[in-house]
Symmetry: C2
Subunit: 94 residues, 2 copies
C-alpha cells in the first residue's frame, strides 16, 4: 500500500525468500510453504503482508491460489535508494 509497508515487508528474511521463489514464476500458497519449515498458517500470514505491500498479487485457479511477483512497486524503492546516493539513477550507472 504505502512506501513504509513495502520496506516493512522486505525486512523479513522469509518474505524475501518468498519473493526469490516467485522469480521463477507463479506458485501456489502450498508450494511456497513446502520450501519452509513452517505451518501453512504462518506462510499465509507472510503472504498477506506481501500482498498488502503490493509486492505480490494472487490469482485463483481451481482449488489453488497462485501468488505472483508484482515488481511495479520496486521502482519506487529503487528511486528512493538511488536518491540517497546523491541523485540521478541513470547517471550513476555507467
Amino acid at each position: 500500500m504505502a512506501f513504509a509497508d513495502t520496506f516493512k515487508a522486505l525486512s523479513d528474511p522469509v518474505r524475501r525468500q518468498i519473493l526469490d521463489l516467485l522469480k521463477e514464476g507463479p506458485m501456489s500458497a502450498g508450494d511456497i510453504g513446502s520450501h519452509f519449515d513452517m505451518t501453512g498458517a504462518t506462510i499465509s500470514y507472510h503472504l498477506k503482508i506481501l500482498k498488502k505491500a503490493d509486492l505480490v498479487f494472487e490469482s485463483r485457479d481451481k482449488n489453488f491460489i497462485y501468488y505472483q511477483l508484482n515488481t511495479t512497486v520496486l521502482e519506487e524503492i529503487m528511486l528512493w535508494i538511488s536518491s540517497l546516493k546523491g541523485g540521478d539513477f541513470d547517471a550513476e550507472s555507467k
Copy 2:
C-alpha cells in the same frame, strides 16, 4: 554488517528519515535529534542500528560526533531488488 541487517535498518521510518537528512551532509547526533520528537537516547539507538548496518559512519570533532551517509551498501540492495525484476539492472533502465 549483513544483508539482512541493512533491510532491517531500512524498515523503520525514523531511520529512513535520518538517512534523508544526511543526504545534505554530515550532522551531529544532536542536530539529527532536533528533527524528531524523541529523546536523544532513542536517536542514539537508531544511529547505532544504522551504523551496524554500515549505512552511516561517524567521525568525531571536538565534543561532537558527526554522522555521515555511507552509500556503498546500497549497491547490494539495489542489485537484489533489480534481480527480482527479472535480471539486469542496466538493461532495464533505458
